[in-house]
């Protein structure tokens, strides 16, 4: 990053800290740093407190490995949810997205990443062992793999299917095909093939499944 000698070292340090955040380029980092500099002291205090609190009071749920401030987390403790299905996702944000859609009433498991063979990221770098320990008894009847439809997601789903398959638990994978709002014209072959394979009857009444 370019830094002019006129920048005070304390400001430079703050710019660098912002620059390290994902999606923040050198220009945005500068803008954020000068915003903090000009803002009232209370605002800076609130920011620094929020930063420290998130580090001090959040941890991983011992059951589902999602980020939580109470362990076990609210989803794991919810008696309304079914214990018989676990939806496995790559990241905590994926749980949030599926919850917003309200399409899953079972439990979750967060892997905290995906297998990436060429980067040397393997199953032992993810929360796989923790997942397997939840499948030992007969409570869980189905594991839903909700990995991203890309190479890392496919490697992860392929590996988990082998392990969990050997445990005799039913495995399903969320369907992929065309996203809402997409054009058939621009879809790639693999997406179209997936969309064709998972096609559904149209003469059924809505919501009657």
């Amino acid at each position: 990053m370019q830094r002019s000698p006129a920048t005070a070292p304390t400001i430079a340090r703050l710019i660098e800290a912002f620059h390290r955040l994902p999606g923040i380029g050198p220009k945005s980092a500068q803008r954020l740093a000068y915003h903090v500099l000009r803002a009232p002291r209370a605002e800076a205090e609130a920011l620094s407190e929020a930063l420290l609190e998130v580090k001090d009071s959040t941890r991983l749920c011992a059951v589902c490995q999602n980020i939580t401030d109470a362990d076990p987390c609210a989803v794991c403790l919810d008696p309304q949810r079914s214990d018989s299905t676990i939806c496995v996702v790559e990241e905590p944000l994926d749980v949030a997205a599926i919850e917003r859609a309200g399409v899953h009433r079972g439990r979750y498991h967060v892997l905290h990443g995906a297998i990436s063979p060429m980067d040397g990221v393997g199953p032992e770098d993810l929360k796989v062992r923790e997942l397997l320990s939840r499948l030992g008894d007969a409570t869980v009847e189905e594991v839903i793999l909700a990995m991203n439809p890309n190479l890392e997601g496919e490697a992860t789903a392929g590996y988990l299917s082998r392990v969990i398959g050997a445990m005799g638990v039913r495995i399903t994978r969320i369907a992929h095909g065309l996203p809402v709002g997409a054009d058939v014209e621009y879809a790639d072959e693999r997406t179209l093939r997936a969309a064709m394979t998972h096609r559904v009857e149209v003469d059924r009444e809505e919501g009657s499944d």
Binding site: G23, I115, P117, G136, A155, Y159, R162, D188, E189, R190
Partner: protein, 275 residues
């Protein structure tokens, strides 16, 4: 900034990594320009028109514009999605090993037609084969041959006498087969006659014919050892993707033992409850 004409090229996508919030850097391998790093903008957004066309382990036609430091992909059209390499994790693992090998051993802006053809043919064979590991081993031998590490299979690498099929050794360090005399003197690992014959067969046959040769588990393990030692010697490193291949081979055992340990802890609990 001087205006540079955009490039059109066919390429195989070797790998990707995320860039910022929505973009990816794709490593492309082109027959005329070698390894190219190019940004695919916006492909991590769900409605990206490009995302399905820049997936690793596919072949496509790309338009590239010179950006400030990297190329930017202006358009991408898949020519060959190689779906079986994505749908089957074993094929995928072998394909990734090939892609990693090419990724590590090619430079930017160096024409690499023969290696491109080798990779393309091998990925095509891999997409249709029933023996993914055999195709990848064939690729490995041909890769070594092409890159100038050609393992010697005719004369002893220590004393230069011509070798027969029996009693030989294989020395990755010395670069090939070791005659029975030199092997007896402690040089090389044991090279059984079926594996010796198979290596020579692989050198003169196609990937498809090699994949059809029946090889027992012991011989494949031996072949794998010799080839991976030669490869490590050539690369001076181990392939990262090979540890996933090992994880995958252990997957079912891990699953079965997880069931066993759960059953044991349940029995243990029952025992404690009974006391």
């Amino acid at each position: 900034m001087p205006r540079i004409r955009p490039i059109r090229t066919e390429a195989i996508v070797l790998r990707q990594r995320p860039l910022g919030d929505a973009d990816r850097i794709c490593v492309l391998f082109s027959p005329t320009r070698g390894r190219i790093e190019a940004v695919a903008k916006g492909v991590r957004k769900p409605l990206s028109k490009m995302s399905g066309h820049v997936e690793p382990l596919s072949r496509g036609q790309f338009g590239l514009a010179q950006g400030r430091s990297l190329f930017v992909i202006t358009d991408a059209q898949t020519l060959d999605p190689w779906s079986p390499l994505h749908d089957d994790v074993e094929r995928m693992t072998e394909a990734l090993a090939m892609a990693e090998l090419v990724d590590r051993s090619t430079d930017a802006e160096v024409s690499s037609g023969p290696l491109y053809q080798l990779l393309r043919r091998s990925l095509e064979s891999l997409a249709s084969t029933q023996s993914p590991a055999a195709v990848r081993r064939w690729f490995t031998l041909r890769f070594l041959d092409q890159q100038g590490y050609q393992p010697e299979l005719d004369a002893c690498v220590r004393c230069r006498t011509e070798v027969g099929p029996e009693g030989n050794g294989y020395s990755a360090v010395d670069g090939g087969v070791v005659c029975p005399n030199c092997h007896g003197a402690g040089h090389g690992q044991r090279l059984t006659s079926p594996v010796f014959r198979l290596l020579r067969y692989m050198r003169r046959s196609s990937a498809q014919s090699t994949a059809q040769v029946r090889v027992d588990a012991q011989a494949s393990a031996e072949l794998e050892r010799h080839l991976s030692m030669s490869l490590e010697q050539a690369l001076d490193a181990r392939l990262r993707s090979s540890s996933f291949a090992e994880d995958l081979a252990r997957a079912e055992t891990i699953g079965r033992s997880a069931v066993q340990s759960a059953a044991e802890s349940e029995r243990e609990e029952q025992r404690r409850a009974a006391i």
